[in-house]
């Protein structure tokens, strides 16, 4: 046995394993800043946004002032933060609501990243500084009514017509679509998959909002309809020439989800711990029943595991060692864990757990979108299975 000279610090229920000690001062300050923003600007209002199925447009400007939008990109007004810092921000945003994190993911990791990685200098100059400030909103159109997990089967087509391109097709389930100033639209061409920047108001382009959602309600989800949309060749992302273009963006966003899911789970755990200590049944706080304690213990374990996994992927990414398959494992594990935590927390809250007065059912419902978008859990399991066996089971 080895004797330790310094005493272990006191246990903190909201950071059981003292994962904080693995962060730098700067990372903590970034995390605390986003956490404070979420506590003040999101948490008190998001139940209402969810109920009314909206997200205020000004929130994007406020997030821009914080430099959260495209924070992991460099230049063009972006903060140039580390992947770990970006992850920490996603965790705090999603502890507020998956819809808010989605706004940031789609803006920064899908739309801005697509332009930053595959765009021309003119496209970057035109869009990135305004998008970083939240003055312009972007969306990312890959999924179609008949092409979800298999985006290679997309039907949206762009054909050359002299110096111009003509786009026809329909995109589905596009986050931020109706509020976007620019849509990154992926289309099949004779030369392979290409990306196009479609500004709001381009003739033939509309983005009707999708209603009747029971998940991610504090987020705008839309169709993109492209009916003989004419674009100059300068609207094409010149560096993207295959499906690798959109997939590279998705990988960025998924990485943020690995962290975000841990945040949503943490928020549910915190709500359940609080509730169980004050809710009296059978003359005692329900926290004094073993069944409840067992649930809390399992939830806390999942939250801490998820956070450690996210942090590990963050460190790998900052070291340039992160592979797509790692991100698949992170998304599969953390979103599934978060769903279990949310469902368990929901039960601990009894009937109160089904209302928007508490955050849990909102998170629970949101996570049903999170487990589906950016590659379903099944698809990520297949990616991992493929990596383990060398056998692709997709088709």
């Amino acid at each position: 046995m080895t004797a330790s000279t310094t005493a272990a610090p006191a246990l903190r229920p909201n950071d059981f394993l003292n994962i904080d000690s693995l962060l730098s001062d700067e990372e903590r300050l970034i995390r605390d800043t986003v956490r404070q923003f979420v506590a003040r600007e999101v948490v008190p209002n998001v139940g209402e946004w969810f109920e009314e199925a909206r997200i205020p447009r000004e929130l994007a400007n406020e997030l821009g002032d914080l430099n959260v939008l495209g924070m992991h990109l460099t230049g063009y007004g972006c903060a140039g933060a580390s992947a770990t810092a970006y992850g920490l921000a996603c965790m705090e945003l999603e502890a507020g609501d998956s819809g808010v994190r989605s706004l940031v993911s789609v803006q920064g990791s899908l739309a801005m990243f697509a332009i930053w990685r595959w765009g021309s200098e003119e496209q970057k100059q035109e869009w990135l500084p305004r998008m970083a400030k939240g003055e312009a909103i972007g969306c990312f159109g890959l999924t179609e009514p008949d092409a979800g997990s298999d985006p290679g089967s997309m039907r949206t087509r762009a054909r050359r017509d002299g110096d111009e391109w003509v786009l026809n097709g329909q995109k589905m389930w596009i986050t931020n679509g109706s509020i976007s100033d620019v849509a990154v639209v992926w289309a099949q061409t004779d030369e392979g998959v290409r990306g196009f920047l479609v500004p709001r108001g381009t003739p033939g382009f509309t983005a009707p909002e999708i209603h009747k959602k029971l998940s991610l309600r504090a987020s705008v989800t839309s169709e993109l309809v492209l009916d003989d949309v004419r674009l100059p060749d300068s609207a094409r992302l010149p560096e993207a020439n295959s499906l690798r273009g959109p997939l590279s963006c998705l990988n960025e966003a998924r990485y943020g989800i690995v962290w975000g899911a841990a945040g949503a789970a943490r928020a549910c755990l915190e709500a359940a711990v609080e509730y169980s200590k004050t809710r009296i049944q059978f003359d005692k706080p329900i926290a004094s029943f073993q069944i409840i304690q067992q649930r809390l213990a399992e939830m806390a374990t999942k939250v801490n595991q998820a956070t450690l996994l996210a942090l590990h992927l963050g460190r790998l990414k900052d070291a340039g060692q992160l592979r797509n398959e790692h991100v698949s494992m992170g998304k599969l594990a953390n979103v599934n864990a978060a769903l279990e935590v949310a469902r368990t927390a929901r039960q601990v809250l009894g009937a109160n757990g089904i209302t928007l007065e508490y955050p849990v059912i909102r998170h629970m419902n949101n996570l049903e979108s999170v487990v589906t978008y950016e590659g379903t859990a099944d698809v990520h399991a297949l990616v991992i299975g493929n990596a383990l066996t060398g056998i692709s089971a997709f088709r």
């Binding site: 610090p9 006191a10 001062d25 700067e26 300050l29 970034i30 800043t33 404070q36 923003f37 002032d65 914080l66 430099n67 959260v68 924070m71 903060a79 140039g80 933060a81 810092a85 921000a89």
Partner: protein, 263 residues
Amino acid sequence: MKICVLVKEVPDAAVEKRIDPSTGRMDRSGEKNLNPYDTHAIEAAMQLKEGGALQVDEIVAVTMGPESAVRALHKAVSLGADRSIHLTDAALAGSDVAATGYALAKALEKEQPDVVLLGQQSDDGECYTIGAVVAEHLKAPSLTQVIKLDVVDGGLRCERQAEYGYDTVQVSLPAVISVGDAINEPRYPSLKAIMGAKKKPLETASAADAGIDASLVGGDGSRVQCGEFKAPPAKAAGTIIEDEDTDATVEQIVAWLDERKLI
């Protein structure tokens, strides 16, 4: 002109404060943060700078404290200060309020600020006095508990929160002004500012560098000698009244107050 903002590292508000039985002093271990009141002082400095009525060339954050206090300076700089000064020396440890105020005043003398801003109280010591002590040493007017600051006639018009109401005081510069948390809503530091904080100049000064007479600071130089510290008695559990029917709730509250002859 130059504004100096005094800032302090304190235990984070979320950390439960307790007396360390081995030293008899407040246990200052654990999570620390920039004193929340000081964030209001920095914001006040930023608003003076951005307001444009005064030509503010520089905002300098100044702290006295151990090595870890650098983090409070980083935060102060991320909130807008242009550079920072860390007064740190083993000889300063254990200084009481008078000694701390003297030491800070010496550090400020070198800077010759036109305005010194600080939070009216620290989250740990809660003495409310550093501003007055610093002002005394700098021979500058002292205004405390200020909740409104306007530039009028080249000086500052301050609204003070007093026991009996509000004082409006016109002060010429230089002046030392401690602010309350009602003065403003501090901005969030942007991520760029947080990431840039380490790149802004930070000067470390010893007691000798600041021209401090070592016999006037530290535990020995302090005139306050602390005997025994005791934790306050635990508060009795309150009564929680569930608001099911507002009329009934009001009746219960009135009855409760009446019983205690409070109304």
